[in-house]
């Protein structure tokens, strides 16, 4: 089995994994990083949204080999120790989460959006396709706007 090395939430990791094993399962089943969630496995629900070199990706369709030598950030790597990222703070402020299962992905998608644009429009927020089956979308929208203002 090939070996891959990458930076995961600021730490170097090396893992034995088949090249085509989706990164989601390398993270969850081999490295014990459980923040990214399975919801569809085909890049449709976006529950696993994480960052590869700072860009939002869906590890359920990213082969593990593609992470080699790169920087992977999951929800666990977003906060600076106990200091939450402003998007996480906004999520708490708006009390967004209901069941919470999609929220790591929602937050990672929102952070990626705010990296691309400091002042997201409603249309920018509409373009986030992450499914929230509890239907917390309005609070997600408010939280993104609040985070943008705070940042």
């Amino acid at each position: 089995m090939p070996t891959y090395s990458f930076t995961l939430n600021g730490q170097s990791v090396t893992v034995d994994a088949p090249a085509d094993l989706p990164l989601l399962w390398t993270l969850r089943d081999k490295l014990g990083v459980k923040g990214p969630k399975y919801g569809c496995g085909i890049d449709v629900c976006k529950a696993c949204t994480s960052h590869l070199d700072g860009q939002a990706v869906n590890p359920c369709v990213v082969p593990t080999s593609e992470a080699d030598g790169r920087e992977v950030t999951t929800i666990e790597g977003l906060a600076d120790g106990d200091r939450l990222h402003p998007v996480q703070e906004a999520w708490l402020e708006q009390d967004v989460a209901q069941c919470g299962y999609c929220q790591p992905g929602q937050i990672m998608a929102a952070v990626a959006l705010l990296k691309r644009t400091k002042h997201p429009t409603d249309a920018d927020i509409d373009a986030i396709e992450n499914v929230c089956r509890c239907g917390s979308y309005f609070r997600i929208r408010e939280a993104i706007k609040a985070a943008a203002a705070a940042m």
Partner: protein
Amino acid sequence: MSSSPSAGHSRRHFLTYLLATPTLAVAAALVDPPPVARAAVPTPPAPADVLDLGDVLILAAAPTANMITVAVGEDGRVGLALPREEVGQGITTAVAMLIADELDVPLDRVDVTLADARPELVFNQLTGGSNTIRSVYTPVRTAAAVARARLVAAAAARWGVPAGQVTVSGGVVIGPGGRTAGFGELSTAAASPSLKVGTATPKPASQQRLVGTPTSRRDARAMVTGRQAYTLDLDVAPGALPTMVRRPPTISGAVRSVDNEAAVRAMPGVVDLAVVETGVAVLAETFGQALDAKNALQVTWGPGTVDGEDDDSIREKLHAAALPFAAPGLLTQHVDAEFDFAFVSHAPMETNSAIADVRDGKAEIWAGLKSPIVAQETIAKDLGLPVSAVAVHVVQGGGSFGRRLFFDAALEAARISKKAGKPVKLMWSRIDDMRHGRARAASHHRIRATHAAGQVLTFEHRVASVETDFRHGLGEILTAMSASLPVGGNLSFAQTVFLTTVKSPYDFGITTQTLTEVPLQMHTGSWRSVYSANTRGAEEIVVDELAAAQRKDPYRFRREFLEDDRSRAVLDKVATEGQWGRPMPAGHAQGIAFHAEYQSCTACLVEIDATNPDRPRVTKATIAADVGRPVNPRGLESQLLGGLTDAIGTTLRAGLHIRDGLPLEGSYSQFHYTRQAESPRDVRVFVMPANGEPGGAGELGVPAAVGAIANAWARATGRKPRSFPLTFPVDFDPFPR
């Protein structure tokens, strides 16, 4: 269920006990005379006006209510193991608020966990019917009041002062002269059986400080940092292998043979295969490998239970099953309407999943379970083990919407673990969860309302639905409570559930609502609001059409015929705050609707942009809700927001097509549940002031929103909404079976 209270020797004691509880008083008070007759033709109370499903659940839980206990530890922390399931509705936060308020302890010193299956609780460990807060409101506050009284008594004894001179504030017990003691240091003395304690009753509502205060979720930080652990995030059964199941090409087909077992066993990461009743399980080192291997399996399947069925054949059966009307359609002014609703997946984000370790004559299960006692008993029987050898741990779930009333994954995981002799972590693929998981049953609705001289004289609603599976313990509860039920005759469980959840809130004269079931063996289950989303949603459309027939405004028409002032108040609230009647551009319209259930009521006013009639968007929503006593208004707003989003999805685009005995939809790219781009940018929720005991709130939001959205769509497009979801093409290539 063997441990149900029998109708024989225990009844006298049982009923005596019930008479002593306040719950029966609640039920009895409902039989008050109907509201003073106004111009409208009054409708006599429906069964659900007398005793609703929630009341039944409260009555069923009452005999074991005193087994819910609050514990105070030597560390000064207060704990309660809640015999309910948290799936996002915020009950652990609300229950912690009840305890903190009653005990005058800071909220962050209260721990509410989810209790394992406790068979001794009998009917008091079922999460459904919007019933958690209604059923635990008094028992939890009473238990906390007892704990408080014991702490006060222990401090009074230590200081040698009368208990009346001891108070509790901020989690500290305070005596004369400024003496203080912490909960922790008093906990042992407070637990002493010899301690003399006066009566303990919960505080009156006027002294509640936290109850009614908007409070953020206690688990929110864990959720936003990725630390919240769902079933498959747990490391509880060392060596438990990622496991997935290859399922049949049609619902409930059984394995005849596995035709390439050796080849699949040789695939990378594959550890074991096991054939079970529901398919072929693959145990592997990672879920990715289990998924590849299960997809590679070549299996010969036997027939399923509904192989010949598709949407057309099911609709035909439903139309044939709907009962005829009593009122004649000729010679009277009437509004007739027929509606069809498709199957709808619960589609919680966390698919069916469970961890099971069945070895050495015992079993241990972890899963998101809303009926863990029934799960435990069923799994024990299936495995051939005594119930005492099966431990069932309830794990916080990633959504439910009714799905986790059933324990399909827990039972399946137990069978696989037994067969393989290894602990397993079972995950259903999304495709399987949508196609083989449970769904809201498709239904057909026939409504006739007759009217004359500005009055509605009769209102008849004939519902025909594919059978809904209630085998998660509700049948046993209804059997045990049969003497208390407000319905007679030889009704089925489903008809009893229907009649104790659905009622018309209007004075529409003689009102009858009936359910006929079509027995198709499909995987169904209650979906948020059970029958009401479709039944009341359809009725709210007819209410608009009745108003039009009488040339009245839909808001004022409802106002005239609603039965009470509480109902009118929420309707008025949304009409005012949502600016009912404001001018809208072409292709845009407002819609309004009302719904009442479980002692709560709500109104919803939406605005829709239907300039593209096939892709309408709800642009704004105004919601008001009166739930009697909101424990956590912030959580209540979340529930109403969720109900609105559910209604947007299921009314406009989200449903399941059935073809050749299987749903076609297999992911969110095909089952079009609402996304951000379909969600309104402006949502306002108004929680009415407290005016009584808590009513049900978890499902309340859906039916009114269904009606409001459909009515807005009708006004914007000039078309009659009749078949749901309104836009429902097969706009995808189905996944292979």
